[in-house]
Symmetry: C2
Amino acid sequence: MATRARRTQRRNQVLSREQIIGAAVELLDTGGEGALTVRALTERLATGSGAIYYHVGNRDELLDTATETVVTAALATTAAQAAATPEDEIRVVALALFDAIAEHPWLATRLTLQIIRNPVGSISVGIFERIGRQVSELGVPQARWFDAASTLVHYILGAVSQNARIEGDTSGVEPDADREEFLGATAEAWQDLDPEDYPFMHAIAGRISEHDDREQFLTGIAVVLDGLTRLR
Amino acid sequence: MATRARRTQRRNQVLSREQIIGAAVELLDTGGEGALTVRALTERLATGSGAIYYHVGNRDELLDTATETVVTAALATTAAQAAATPEDEIRVVALALFDAIAEHPWLATRLTLQIIRNPVGSISVGIFERIGRQVSELGVPQARWFDAASTLVHYILGAVSQNARIEGDTSGVEPDADREEFLGATAEAWQDLDPEDYPFMHAIAGRISEHDDREQFLTGIAVVLDGLTRLR
DNA sequence: CCGGAAATGGAACGTTGTACCAACTTGGAT
DNA sequence: ATCCAAGTTGGTACAACGTTCCATTTCCGG
């Protein structure tokens, strides 16, 4: 009767799959995709490679699982919010993905890679379902649902991925200082382009300093939503 | 006077940088990003690793250069075509990128990676300039040029990347047989989803068989172009 | 308390990107 | 024609990686 607390197959798992995934996400956030090595994992978790491969099977599978975990978590936080209109709900989902990639830049390539390799996977299907439902409430005729949802998802994931920032340390005092500097450097680079060959870049070079990625993203969504009304 | 053909620094270069890039693209097309190894290159070019590193410096730089070469070539072929309207020109450029990724699936992740890491690079600037010029002829007020071009580029590159197909051999007799099979499998997978949790995917599952990626892409572009008229 | 199953840590293997080098080739100066 | 510094090459060597394998330890139902 000493083991009364022990039930059926309860086991005190010292190293769980979730711990490995968590450590993997931390490594990825710190140093990007290259920082996720099995050896770095064993050191951080104070274990051997055998233990990791027992739970996870593969580096690629670990990357997929980490991606799925982060994206699912990002989408889950939006589930609670009650959006007034379908348009608002789409914006909420889109911004959740935007912020997720801002926190985890390695998602930019991994997300598209995963959608390409496994279009039936839970990520693709989850995002598509979430967006698609709103499309159907947007007055788009059912024959066009697929096209409309596809357009929205393509735009959202494209914009979100291309807005990811890779660079290293934002651990400094002012995280916006790098941003200012980056925008300034970009503006200068565009200015330096030959106006003969690049008249457009030259024309908008001044505009980039007074611009906000997030707002521009929302503008893009508004454009696509406006365009969708034409499908009716 | 025996060397009359020899000018200043003309040199009979046995191994040129262009040859290396060409071989790299072939390897990438054949077996994806994992197939591009320095050793595979040395074998194909019948040389040593020293020669390759003398011309190219880096595996990552080689991947960047290969990407740039392929994309630039794809865009160059469209320069000859005379498009009637700005909308047509945008479609021409977009389809060129669509086809380029169809031929070189490894571009899907590499293209976004390159845009993220070097937004001032020739690829980003080249595409942006090409699209932007049409935007300015579309009646969009100059204050909105940046937003409009950004939306278009984000959508085009997003859709194009997410439409890439990874799978192996299309060397069979019927390249569309795999495609049919893939669409069927996807439709079935969507059908098998729980209709309670995934009503939308269930609703459009039948629609996927009668769908064409290219047409859907053009529909998406039309949607975005329609939306842009609202910026006026 | 005992035995099979679950889980672990570490050694070992093959492959990778890359640095380095000794040799060969080239082409302008003498 | 000869020579030499710069350019170019093939190959070796090394550290780091993903992964396999296995002896050992820990677990838990009977």
